[in-house]
């Protein structure tokens, strides 16, 4: 039996990897993947907590988060295709028309 804390720790690490990835990576497709990683890290902690508390609520979250992530990925992909049409590049630091 893996202790509950270990699963939580693993999910925190996955979340952190995704978070750092969003902040440092340049390729926008990799950015999308990092966001998915963050969401899946959270999913893991939902499952772990649901198991520990013996409640189904966390499992239901996982279903919904998966569909939300799919919808987000589809919209994100569409945006990236549009972006690529305009600039022939998938690197985030070349997206600099609007100064910020």
């Amino acid at each position: 039996m893996i202790p509950f804390e270990y699963s939580l720790l693993l999910s925190a690490i996955l979340f952190a990897i995704g978070c750092v990835g969003v902040l440092v990576r340049r390729n926008v497709i990799v950015l999308l993947m990092c966001i998915e990683l963050m969401l899946n890290g959270v999913n893991l902690s939902f499952v772990a907590i649901a198991d520990k508390l013996d409640s189904a609520e966390g499992l239901i979250y996982v279903f919904f988060v998966m569909t939300v992530a799919a919808a987000e990925a589809a919209v994100g992909l569409a945006i990236v295709v549009n972006l690529f049409r305009h600039r022939d590049s998938v690197y985030a630091d070349e997206i600099n028309l609007l100064k910020g």
Partner: protein
């Protein structure tokens, strides 16, 4: 788990909007060959039905769907704000879309879908529903921000998408931690857990969950230090969508923010109210001072919207019924004044060129006196000068803050609104006291729908400023149903 047919009545407004969105989509693809002004009319009709349904369900005052959502006065008031925002946005867009050759029904469908999400956010009493509603709203708006597919539009769309998805992941993690600490994500259930279990209010898991929730909301309402995307996104998106984002998203996010923190976390309020205190002060100060330096009106309005998020945060920090009343009133008046201001910006632009530099506004005052008068009114209201709606809203929020002995917060807020007068008045100065350049293009991008929207917004700003009593009483009644 029990399902009751009667619960469907609680979500009748949401169903009406969703049905209209689907209808608009189907009309778009199956009614081919003709120009389609009907998308505008169908959407407005749907919004009207949703408003009627809201009016009918606002006295229900109960939870539905096993505690997932509440149909009370609070959600009814927020629904009304959102419906007003949506109706004004659709009116403002009709001519703009035609002028930019983007008259597609998808635009209306996306607006209606994101409004559905917003209304669910305002009535959600369960964090799962709140998250789903937030995503419904956001995903539709990501698509809207890039609707024109110009270089700037797509870029703004991408930035908004990336940071939006990033922030929802934070919020979701916060929900997971709160679930771990309390074992439930129904907000009344969370509140009971906090009162029953000793020491839960200081458990690291619960506190970090609350912190992550704050981060998620702060991204959505564009609060410091998570405001970085706002100016770029607001500038690059189609102007009508900017107006919708600035008012609708703010209304929905603040509605959910306030409900969750007011209902679920009063036990931990000493901790989060300090964090939010700092956030509120930093947000309004930063927004106002950055706005001082802007020469682009759309960017200036973006920073001003950050500052307004700061004032609204004062309401959340205070977290009393009076503060809620102030917040609701402020959100309503902000919807009118902001959409009105953006409508003026749209009318002054032309196809492919928004002309939002301050220099483009030189001499507008004598060329188009009515438009300039309306824009002046909206600027006065944003600056919080009486007798406009903006003044009453600020007054209510700061009064509530003083009532709970947040003196410094109120003082800083008042000082901030004094500083903001400078950049709002600068637009007016350019309009009335600068020569219009010879080469300035002729003509306004006007039409009956956008004129109606501007007149309604201007009238509402004046009425809410001169005779706020009725609406304030409605907001108080809405707060009393918690």
């Amino acid at each position: 788990m029990d399902f009751q047919l009667a619960d469907l009545k609680l979500i009748a407004p949401h169903i009406a909007l969703l049905g209209t969105a689907l209808l608009v989509l189907m009309v778009e693809v199956f009614g081919h060959g003709r120009r389609r002004p009907e998308a505008t009319w169908i959407s407005l009709l749907g919004i009207g039905i949703a408003a009627a349904a809201t009016g009918m369900s606002c006295h229900e005052n109960r939870l539905g769907f096993s505690g997932m959502l509440a149909a009370d006065g609070y959600s009814a008031f927020c629904n009304m704000i959102i419906l007003i925002v949506g109706a004004l946005t659709i009116l403002v867009s009709s001519n703009y879309l035609k002028d930019e050759r983007h008259e597609h029904g998808e635009y209306h469908a996306l607006i209606l879908l994101s409004m559905t999400g917003m209304m669910f956010m305002a009535s959600a009493t369960h964090l799962l529903l709140m998250f789903l509603a937030l995503e419904t709203m956001s995903i539709a708006i990501y698509a809207l921000a890039g609707f024109f597919r110009t270089k700037e539009g797509v870029e703004s769309c991408f930035k908004y998408f990336l940071l939006g998805a990033f922030s929802s992941a934070f919020m979701l993690y916060g929900i997971a931690l709160i679930y771990g600490a309390t074992g439930t994500t129904q907000i009344h259930g969370i509140m009971e857990q906090f009162t029953q279990i000793k020491g839960l209010a200081s458990s690291p898991m619960a506190l970090s969950g609350i912190a992550l929730l704050i981060v998620g909301f702060a991204f959505k309402v564009a609060a410091f230090p998570f405001h970085g995307w706002t100016p770029d996104v607001y500038q690059g998106a189609p102007t009508s969508v900017t107006a919708f984002m600035a008012t609708g998203v703010k209304a929905a996010a603040f509605a959910a923010f306030f409900r969750i923190f007011f209902v679920a976390f009063p036990a931990t309020s000493p901790v989060w109210s300090q964090a939010l205190w700092l956030l509120a002060v930093a947000t309004m100060t930063m927004g106002n001072f950055a706005a001082l330096a802007q020469r682009d009106v759309k960017r200036m309005l973006a920073y001003s919207s950050i500052a307004h998020a700061g004032y609204l945060l004062v309401g959340v920090v205070t977290a009393t019924a009076a503060a809620g009343t102030g917040m609701l009133f402020y959100l309503l008046s902000y919807a009118f004044m902001n959409i009105g201001a953006f409508a003026c910006v749209i009318m002054l632009g032309r196809r492919g060129a928004d002309s939002t530099n301050l220099d483009d506004y030189a001499g507008v005052g004598f060329k188009y006196p009515l438009l300039a008068a309306a824009l002046t009114l909206f600027m006065f209201s944003m600056a919080g000068i009486p007798p406009t709606a903006g003044f009453i809203g600020k007054f209510l929020i700061f009064k509530a803050a003083i009532g709970k002995e947040f003196y410094w917060l109120a003082v800083i807020g008042v000082l901030n609104s004094a500083a903001s007068v400078y950049f709002y008045l600068r637009v007016i100065v350019y309009m009335y006291f600068r020569e219009r350049p010879e080469a300035a293009p002729e003509g306004l991008r006007s039409g009956p729908a956008i004129t109606v929207a501007t007149v309604v917004a201007a009238a509402a700003v004046l009425i809410l400023g001169l005779a706020p009593g009725f609406v304030v009483r409605m907001a108080e009644a809405a707060m009393s149903t918690f």
